[in-house]
């Protein structure tokens, strides 16, 4: 199996089949802001769509698309705009590929009706060859199977602050780390509203105690270029 980074997405190739994977989308964020009294026009949804389109164009032919969970931002309920946004995203993905898989995340409590209505596959985890795709907030015995060598997860929103003097900029990043002899690939969130949590400082919040310091960091530049920064412990700055 071959794994390659494309902007914030991951492409997995196996026996000529190509799988396009993206992390947490957090749709409905715009309405979430409004309902908490922040009346600033934000259009993160448009940005999300634009970026997805651009990456899918670059990716070329894909056989399946996996969304790694946390499609929705708001817990527990489905806001009207979320229906609309989720539907629009499914429409968009359909233009590129007919097989769409949703992995359930902790924000996605009531996704079944949506999945049913739009003919989307909904799983807690998904196995493909020797790779397991899951959200990262829950553990499953099946992923420990000896033939599984790689886990692809979301949930953590990894980002890294790059520092020089007092200049300090945060970027989204992939983190690749070994755990129980499995390679764990943590995807950055796809959500454009914030970079994520700083892996130099904060806990990833995944269900497994990963040795983050030994992990290898791939930083996503704003131009979609992905830069290898090596092991986290070698990256400068406090």
């Amino acid at each position: 199996m071959k794994y390659s980074f494309l902007g914030k997405s991951l492409i997995v190739e196996r026996a000529g089949k190509r799988t396009f994977v993206v992390g947490d989308l957090h749709l409905g964020y715009d309405e979430g802001l409004r309902s908490s009294g922040v009346f600033i026009v934000s259009n993160l949804f448009e940005e999300t769509k634009k970026e997805l389109t651009s990456l899918l164009e670059k990716a070329g032919q894909v056989d399946e698309i996996i969304l790694l969970g946390d499609l929705k931002h708001i817990f527990g309920q489905i806001l009207t705009s979320e229906w609309k946004e989720i539907f629009a995203i499914i429409e968009l993905l359909r233009m590129y590929c007919s097989k769409i898989i949703f992995i359930k995340g902790n924000h996605d409590v009531i996704m079944e009706p949506i999945a049913k209505r739009y003919g989307v596959l909904l799983y807690d985890y998904y196995l493909l060859g020797n790779c397991a795709f899951l959200h990262g907030d829950r553990d499953f015995p099946e992923i420990y199977d000896a033939k599984i060598t790689c886990w692809v997860v979301g949930h953590a929103h990894p980002a890294i602050s790059i520092q020089e003097g007092v200049k300090n900029e945060k970027y989204k990043c992939f983190l690749v780390v070994l755990y129980k002899r499995k390679k764990v690939i943590v995807l950055p969130s796809f959500f454009p509203g914030s970079q994520g949590i700083d892996i130099k400082l904060q806990d990833l919040g995944l269900i497994w105690p990963l040795d983050v310091k030994r992990g290898r960091v791939f930083v996503v530049n704003d131009t979609q270029e992905v830069l290898d920064f090596g092991a986290l412990e070698t990256i400068l700055g406090p």
């Binding site: 802001l33 009294g37 009346f39 700055g237």
Partner: protein
């Protein structure tokens, strides 16, 4: 057309007396021997229904002056049974804790007059007083609505609320007097907000109410008068110059002021405080910041265990209403020996017999120093006594010059924000709730306020358009707060929630929260909470900074929401003084006086004896402090030279990076402008980020490589504003300001659908908010307001230009000196300054450059579509 400003003269005692109704007169002379000077100025003019600004030192019986003429009028009506069910006078004060003052100056006089009338068998109608603040309960409000008070006491915010309430608006329809107390505390956005409320009030009142402003010593008086009455009305200024003797001195805990954070120094500070407290009955200590307030109390107890328990109290704005009331009450009863306050006790509530005021660190301006010290001997004729305690050497010089200016009565000038679009948004929203307006009549009412006299129609319409949700395009309905019919040119209310939304989100004071400090490492103490710091203090911290909290040192790592994460058990020296906070900027005038003082000292520096004697006389300070000032100046002279008002030192230091220290003694507002202009010029030259440090005495810029001559030549009177515009969008300061402006303009609601929004939640979004609003338009009115606030309120661009002009005309010389180490003047700049960063290098290029550096570390190739 602008109104006429005139100055009042006091009348004779008997001329005031003959204006009074016999009952009022009898009551007055049963309580007081004669009219105060303030009353002899004010009472006849108010009686004659003239708009008036009364400026008198604290304790000048101002409040009663205003009430006396009005009580007199009401008693006269009450005796003739002509008192109507309406509000005759509104008294508005920025203080929240009003009740005692009102009791003394209003309720007690009315009660005593009533009893007097009863004794004499004169039938009086009842004169009712109503109090409405943010703390007034629903029950009390309902009662007031049933029985209309004749005198209505309130705060600026509550006043803005009640004028949109139909019932109250009716009661106010024939208002005759508006009293604005503590005008000196309103030269800010809160005052701007009030100025529009007053115009709204005048607009719907069938008669034009008389405006009465009461202020402590303030300058310029004529601008304050305009602010009070608006640009078109006449106003009389009563400048009451009470000859009050003030007993002031400056003290310092030690001669060596280099290490004010050192334990030995700290110990002496508390010993000094203890001595002062013990030799007086009741002492009031002002500390400038809330953190310092808590700190003083904590350490006094630590150094003198048990001695002050039950005898000491804190008083600051983030304490609950009950706690503050309690402290005020105990002060009046004389139960407390000492009260420590940040700024909250500055304003005029009567707090009893304070006989000493201690100012810990410079209060940054003469007016503020006078106001604070005036809290001692609040009663007329008592001599206020104040002691400045200087904690470092710049502080010592500053306090000494402040004292000199106080003696010479040189009052620093305030400036009032003009055309603030965020406050305007809030008020247009309120106006639209009251009724349907034509665009032209609404603009006419707004322009009557001095703060909006020059508001352009374009700016006005851009705010209307924002409130009408125009910028939200297809989501217009979601964002619209008002209804705007562009065909008929009318503005009105929109939505059922409008009124409640207005009432629960009104106000202009940004909420400042306390940040909880949580240990992140070492692991054994992880998660432990060690105390709180101010939000403003947090903004000063950069990753890796070491600061002191509760006596221990912590290294700051990052903050999230309302928590700051730190590493405990650090041995490094603090990099940020714990005294530091968002302090008031030093006034330009005092700063210039310090610069002139430095020149006098530098001319005499060769002769120690002569120089010390000069300092001693010039500042009227103790010989040992004159010597400390001399030592500081001498050290600087030996190192490079003393920068003063004619020659400004620009010190160039090369270490891990290069620094340029500009010793421009013009106060922070001017330095805020100059630093960003020079910083931006330097950033542009090499397309690299530049660090800034700014304080009242100068600023520094730091970067990889700096060419002082080239940088200095880039900044001129002609391009200053252009440079600042460029710089502003690249700094942090705009982001911080924008959040407050967004909140004032009701873009971010503190309270919405029954939920209150925490400061923390607002903070998380501030970066995001700014970037989103820039996507809408660079000219979005609230974004422009944030820029205006930085340019006009935070910075002083006109004065910065005047300084540059002097440099161009060679009246002021910038002299570059190469120094191997940071000079003594530079050191205080380095450790005690507001930091900012001009980030000119964009994210994409920065990451690429850092990646190239990282590649050297890991010696691997740059990867595209990396294969794992």
């Amino acid at each position: 057309m602008s109104g006429l400003l005139t100055y009042a003269e006091p009348v004779r005692n008997e001329d005031v007396a003959k204006l009074l109704h016999p009952l009022v007169s009898e009551w007055f002379f049963s309580t007081f021997k004669e009219f105060s000077l303030t009353q002899r100025y004010g009472v006849p003019l108010i009686h004659g229904r003239k708009n008036i600004l009364v400026s008198a030192p604290t304790g000048g019986t101002k409040t009663l002056t205003a009430f006396l003429a009005i009580i007199n009028y009401l008693v006269d009506l009450a005796a003739r049974k002509e008192l109507e069910d309406k509000i005759y006078a509104v008294y508005v004060s920025p203080l929240r804790a009003l009740s005692n003052d009102i009791f003394v100056n209003l309720e007690r006089p009315l009660q005593e007059i009533k009893e007097l009338a009863l004794k004499k068998g004169i039938a009086l109608q009842e004169i009712r007083v109503g109090l409405r603040t943010g703390d007034t309960t629903v029950g009390e409000r309902a009662k007031m609505a049933r029985r209309v008070p004749h005198l209505f006491v309130t705060t600026p915010e509550s006043l803005a609320i009640i004028i949109t309430t139909t019932k109250f608006a009716t009661n106010l329809a024939a208002l005759e007097f508006i009293i604005v107390d503590e005008v000196h505390a309103l030269a800010n956005k809160r005052g701007v907000h009030l100025s529009l409320t007053l115009e709204r009030l005048s607009d719907f009142s069938v008669i034009e109410p008389v405006r009465i402003g009461l202020s402590a010593t303030i300058a310029p008086l004529e601008e304050i008068a305009r602010f009070l009455v608006g640009s078109e009305r006449d106003c009389t200024i009563a400048h009451v110059k009470l000859v009050k003797q003030v007993d002031i001195d400056v003290l310092s805990p030690a001669r060596n002021l280099l290490e004010s954070e050192a334990p030995e120094q700290q110990k002496r500070l508390y010993q000094l405080l203890d001595e002062l407290i013990q030799s007086h009955k009741t002492t009031l200590i002002f500390t400038n910041t809330r953190n310092a307030t808590e700190k003083i109390i904590h350490y006094l107890d630590l150094h003198f265990p048990g001695k002050y328990s039950g005898l000491i109290g804190a008083h600051h704005s983030s304490m609950s209403k009950q706690r503050r009331f309690e402290i005020e009450e105990r002060l009046r009863k004389g139960e407390l020996r000492v009260v420590v306050s940040s700024t909250s006790l500055e304003l005029g509530i009567d707090i009893g017999g304070i006989d000493l005021v201690i100012l810990l660190r410079s209060p940054k301006g003469v007016a503020r120093a006078l106001q604070r010290i005036g809290r001692a001997g609040h009663q007329l004729h008592a001599h206020p006594k104040g002691r400045f305690i200087a904690l470092d050497r710049d502080d010592l010089v500053e306090c000494s010059i402040l004292m000199r200016n106080m003696r010479e009565k040189k009052i620093d000038e305030v400036s009032i924000p003009r055309n603030a679009l965020d406050v305007l948004s809030q008020q247009i929203f309120g106006m639209a709730i009251s009724k349907v307006w034509s665009v032209s009549s609404m603009l006419r009412v707004i322009r009557k306020s001095y703060c909006y006299a020059s508001l352009s129609k374009e700016d006005f319409l851009s705010v209307v358009s924002y409130l009408a949700g125009d910028y939200a395009l297809e989501h217009r309905n979601v964002y619209a707060k008002i209804w705007y019919g562009s065909q008929k040119q009318e503005i009105g209310k929109r939505g059922k929630l409008a009124r409640i939304l207005y009432m629960t989100n009104i106000g202009t004071i940004p909420e400042e929260g306390f940040i909880e400090v949580v240990i992140q490492g070492p692991a054994a103490r992880k998660g432990e909470s060690v105390g709180t710091i101010d939000e403003a203090f947090l903004e000063r911290l950069h990753r890796g900074d070491v600061f002191v909290l509760g006596g221990a040192r912590y290294q700051f790592t990052f903050s999230r929401g309302m928590k700051a994460y730190v590493i405990a058990n650090v041995s490094r020296q603090p990099t940020v003084p714990s005294w530091f906070s968002e302090m008031l900027p030093l006034s330009f005038d005092v700063a210039c006086d310090i610069a002139a003082f430095r020149r006098h000292v530098s001319e005499r520096i060769k002769n120690k004896k002569e120089c010390c004697a000069f300092i001693e006389t010039y500042c009227s300070c103790r010989p040992e402090l004159a010597e400390a000032i001399y030592a500081y100046m001498k050290e600087q002279e030996d190192f490079s030279f003393i920068s003063h008002d004619k020659v400004i030192a620009v010190e160039h230091v090369k270490s891990d990076k290069e620094y340029l220290f500009f010793h421009t003694l013009y106060g922070r507002r001017v330095n805020d402008a100059l630093s960003r202009a020079y910083g931006y010029a330097a950033a542009q030259l090499r397309y690299r980020d530049i660090e800034l440090g700014i304080n009242d005495n100068g600023f520094f810029i730091a970067g990889e490589k700096l060419d002082p001559k080239k940088i200095i030549s880039q900044v001129t009177t002609k391009n200053l504003e252009e440079l600042l515009k460029g710089a502003l969008d690249k700094t942090d300061v705009l982001k911080r300001r924008f959040r407050h402006c967004a909140s004032r303009s009701l873009m971010i609601l503190r309270s919405y659908k029954g939920r209150s929004k925490s400061v923390g939640k607002q903070q998380v979004h501030s970066m995001f908010l700014l970037s989103e609003v820039k996507k809408i338009s660079e000219e979005f009115p609230i974004l422009r307001e944030a820029r205006r606030e930085v340019f006009e309120d935070l910075m002083d661009v006109p004065r910065a230009i005047s300084i540059l002009k002097k440099i161009e005309q060679k009246d002021i010389v910038l002299r570059i000196v190469q120094v191997s180490l940071v000079s003594p003047f530079g050191l205080s700049l380095l450790t005690q300054s507001h930091a900012d960063l001009i980030s000119i290098e964009d994210r994409v290029n920065f990451l690429k450059r850092m990646h190239a550096l990282q590649l050297q570390v890991i010696s691997e190739k740059k990867v595209k579509n990396y294969e794992i």
